[in-house]
C-alpha cells in the first residue's frame, strides 16, 4: 500500500467561507461528475473534535453538487452503528465514510459492504482487516503521543528529575492507549517518565475535576500533556482555580481556543499537537473520487491511495498563526 504523509495538497487556497476547511486542492476533480450518495457514520458528537469531524464532513459535501451526504446519527453504541451500515448497504449507497466507534467491532460489517460492492472509506480508527476498506484516512494517535513527548523532552531534556503529568482521555478507548504509549516511548528516549496520570472523559467537566485532583496530588509539576483540547478548557480552569503556573501545558487535537492560548504569552499553554478534525472531510472527498472512479490529483498512479495518514504537527507560538485557521472551535 502506498503511504502518504502530509496533506494531499500543494496549493493552499484562501478559504472564502469556511475557516475550518484549511488548505484545499483545486483541480479538475472538483468539476461535477456522476451523482453519488455517500453514507456517513461517526460516533456521537459529544465533544468539540467529534462535532468538528461531522460538521467538516457535511461542509465538504455541501461544496459538491454531485454529492448527497446521508448522515446517520452519531452513536457510541457499536450495535447501533453496525445497523446504520447495514441500512446503508440495504439502501445501496454509492460509498460509505465510516469513523467507527471501535474499528475492530465494525470491521465485519464494513467487509459486508465491500463485498456488496460499496467502497468504504475508513476514517481515524482502523479496521482490523485490510479488505474492509477501499481507503483509510488515519490520524496518528501514537505519533501524537510521540510529538507531545518529544516536545516536552526538548523543553526539559536537561533535567532528569522533572515531573511530567499526563491527562489522558477516555481510558477504555484504544486510541487513548496508543497516545499514552507514544508519549511514554518518547519520554523514555530522554530519560523522563510519567509521574502522574489521570484519565478524563473528553469533557470539560471531567477535565476540570481530574486536573484539580492531579494538581492537589502533585505540588510541583514541570510539564503536563493533555490529550484533548476539549477537556483542555476544564484543565485550564482547574489550573487557574488552583493558581498554579510553575509548569507548561501541551495540548492535543488542536482547537482554536487552545491556539489562542498559545498566542497569549501569559498562558501556561505552550503548544498543542494537531489531530486533524478534517479527517472525515477528507474521507468524503476520497469517497466521491472512488465512487466516480477518479484519482487524487497530483498523483501519477491510478486510483485513490489505500492509506492516507495525516500529519500531526506541533503548534507553538512560532507557527500558531499558520494553524489557527484550521483549529476547530471546541
Amino acid at each position: 500500500a502506498l503511504l502518504l504523509t502530509g496533506c494531499v495538497s500543494n496549493e493552499p487556497r484562501e478559504s472564502e467561507d469556511d475557516a475550518a476547511s484549511g488548505p484545499v486542492a483545486v483541480t479538475e476533480n472538483d468539476e461535477p461528475g456522476d451523482e453519488v450518495v455517500i453514507g456517513f457514520s461517526a460516533p456521537a458528537a459529544d465533544h468539540g473534535w467529534m462535532g468538528a469531524i461531522t460538521s467538516a464532513a457535511k461542509a465538504e459535501a455541501e461544496k459538491y453538487e454531485d454529492v448527497t451526504l446521508q448522515v446517520a446519527e452519531g452513536t457510541n453504541d457499536v450495535n447501533v452503528q453496525i445497523s446504520q451500515i447495514e441500512g446503508f448497504i440495504d439502501q445501496g449507497v454509492d460509498a460509505i465514510v465510516l469513523l467507527p466507534f471501535d474499528g475492530a467491532a465494525l470491521t465485519d460489517v464494513a467487509l459486508e459492504a465491500m463485498e456488496a460492492g460499496i467502497p468504504v472509506i475508513n476514517v481515524d480508527r482502523e479496521f482490523t482487516s485490510p479488505f474492509a476498506a477501499r481507503a483509510t484516512v488515519l490520524g496518528d494517535n501514537y505519533g501524537m503521543g510521540v510529538s507531545a513527548g518529544t516536545y516536552i523532552c526538548e523543553q526539559l531534556g536537561d533535567n532528569p528529575d522533572a515531573v511530567v503529568a499526563e491527562i489522558a482521555g477516555i481510558d477504555s478507548l484504544p486510541l487513548t492507549q496508543d497516545r499514552s504509549q507514544g508519549f511514554k516511548d518518547a519520554l523514555d528516549d530522554c530519560g523522563l517518565d510519567v509521574d502522574a496520570r489521570v484519565a478524563a472523559e473528553f469533557t470539560v467537566e471531567s477535565g476540570e475535576e481530574q486536573t484539580a485532583n492531579l494538581l492537589s496530588a502533585e505540588p510541583q509539576i514541570d510539564a503536563i500533556w493533555n490529550h484533548d483540547d476539549d477537556q483542555g478548557v476544564g484543565v485550564l480552569a482547574a489550573i487557574e482555580n488552583a493558581g498554579r503556573d510553575e509548569f507548561f501545558v501541551v495540548g492535543g487535537a488542536g482547537s482554536a481556543n487552545m491556539m489562542r492560548e498559545i498566542q497569549d504569552e501569559e498562558s501556561v499553554v505552550d503548544a498543542t499537537v494537531i489531530y486533524p478534525s478534517t479527517q472525515a472531510a477528507d474521507g468524503v472527498k476520497l469517497a466521491r473520487l472512488v465512487a466516480q472512479n477518479k484519482t487524487v490529483s497530483d498523483l501519477a498512479s491510478i486510483g485513490v491511495p489505500r492509506t492516507v495518514q495525516l500529519y500531526a504537527p506541533v503548534v507553538t507560538a512560532d507557527n500558531v498563526e499558520e494553524f489557527l485557521p484550521i483549529g476547530f472551535e471546541s
Partner: protein
C-alpha cells in the same frame, strides 16, 4: 364477563403499544417508503433489536419481581471481553466453538448470581447492589481487555452465529427463541408465577411457602444469563469483545421493559409488552437514520416518545379498568 375481561385486559393494555408501533411504521413508510419497508431493512431493525431484546427479557423478570438491574450493560461488556480473551479463543480452537458462548454465559450468570446474593442475602437495595456491580464489572472488563478491542478469530463460531437459517440471521432467531422461552417461563411455569407473586406481595409470598431469597437469587442469575447471551450476540455482530460493549444498555433495556407495561414497582410483567417496547425503540432509531435526522433532535424525539407511549398506555389501561367493571 370476567372471563372476557381476563382475555380483553392484556389485549387492551397492549393496544397503546401496538398503536405506537403502527404509527412509527406508517411514519417510516411515509418518509422512507421502499427503503423502510424492504426485507433487508426489517431484518436490520430486528438485528439491532436483538441485544436489547434478549437482555430485556431477563430484565422483565427482575422488574416484575420488584427489583432492578443496572449492571446488565457492564456485564455484557465483561462477558464479551472474557469470552474473547486469547486463552478463551485458544480453548475454542482446541475444544470447539461452544467454549466462547459458554464462557460468556458463565460470566453473565456468575455476575448475576453475585447481584442476587447481595440483594437477597445481603439485603441491599437492588439499585445499589447492581450499581456497584456496574462499576466493578466495567473496571474488571477494562483490566482483562487491557483496554484493547479483542478480535475473535475462531471461524467456526461465526459459522454458527453469523449463519442465516431461512434467510434470517441467527441472532434474530436467538432473540425470538429467548422471547418465546421468556413468555413461557413467565406465564406458564411455577417460576414465572412466583416471580409475579414475589413482586406483588413479598410477605404473602413468603407466607405461602415461597423461598423468596432463593428465588431472588435465581432472578438476578437469569438477568445475568441473558446479559451473557447479549454478549454472544454482540460478539457475533461485531466480531470483537470490548469493555465498552453495552455502554448505557441498561437504560435502553429498562425503558423498553417499562414502556412495555411491566410495573417498576413489581407484581406485573409482560414479555409481549417488552418485545413491543424493544421493537418500538429499534424502529424509532431506524426511521431516524433513514430520514437523516440529527442526533440531538433524535434525543428530544426519544424523550417525547417515551412520554407519549407511557401516557397512551395509561389511557388504555384506564379504559380497560372501565371495561372490566
Amino acid at each position: 364477563m370476567s372471563q372476557r375481561s381476563a382475555l380483553m385486559g392484556p389485549a387492551l393494555r397492549m393496544g397503546g403499544l401496538v398503536l405506537a408501533l403502527v404509527l412509527l411504521v406508517v411514519v417510516g413508510v411515509a418518509t422512507a417508503g421502499e427503503r423502510f419497508w424492504s426485507t433487508g431493512n426489517l431484518i436490520t431493525v430486528l438485528s439491532l433489536a436483538a441485544v436489547t431484546g434478549v437482555v430485556s427479557i431477563g430484565m422483565t423478570f427482575v422488574i416484575t419481581s420488584g427489583g432492578i438491574d443496572l449492571s446488565v450493560g457492564a456485564v455484557v461488556g465483561l462477558a464479551s471481553v472474557w469470552a474473547s480473551t486469547l486463552s478463551t479463543q485458544y480453548a475454542a480452537e482446541d475444544f470447539g466453538w461452544w467454549v466462547i458462548p459458554l464462557t460468556a454465559l458463565a460470566v453473565g450468570l456468575v455476575a448475576g448470581l453475585i447481584n442476587g446474593l447481595l440483594v437477597a442475602y445481603g439485603k441491599m437495595p437492588a439499585f445499589m447492589a447492581t450499581l456497584a456491580m456496574l462499576a466493578a464489572a466495567r473496571g474488571l472488563a477494562e483490566i482483562i481487555a487491557g483496554r484493547r478491542t479483542q478480535i475473535v478469530t475462531v471461524e467456526p463460531f461465526f459459522d454458527v452465529f453469523q449463519s442465516r437459517p431461512l434467510g434470517v440471521p441467527a441472532i434474530v432467531w436467538i432473540f425470538v427463541v429467548v422471547a418465546a422461552a421468556g413468555w413461557f417461563l413467565l406465564n406458564r411455569t411455577t417460576f414465572g408465577r412466583r416471580t409475579v407473586a414475589v413482586g406483588g406481595n413479598p410477605e404473602a409470598s413468603r407466607l405461602a411457602g415461597i423461598k423468596i431469597k432463593r428465588h431472588t437469587l435465581y432472578l438476578y442469575g437469569l438477568a445475568g444469563l441473558t446479559a451473557g447471551i447479549g454478549a454472544v450476540i454482540l460478539l457475533a455482530r461485531t466480531t470483537a469483545g470490548s469493555s465498552t460493549h453495552g455502554t448505557l444498555l441498561e437504560l435502553d433495556v429498562i425503558a423498553a421493559v417499562v414502556v412495555g407495561g411491566t410495573l417498576l414497582a413489581g407484581g406485573r410483567g409482560t414479555i409481549t409488552g417488552t418485545v413491543l417496547g424493544v421493537l418500538i425503540f429499534s424502529t424509532l432509531t431506524n426511521v431516524f437514520v433513514l430520514n437523516n435526522l440529527d442526533s440531538s433532535v433524535q434525543a428530544i424525539a426519544k424523550g417525547a416518545i417515551i412520554v407519549g407511549a407511557v401516557l397512551l398506555q395509561q389511557w388504555f389501561a384506564a379504559r380497560e379498568r372501565v371495561t372490566a367493571t
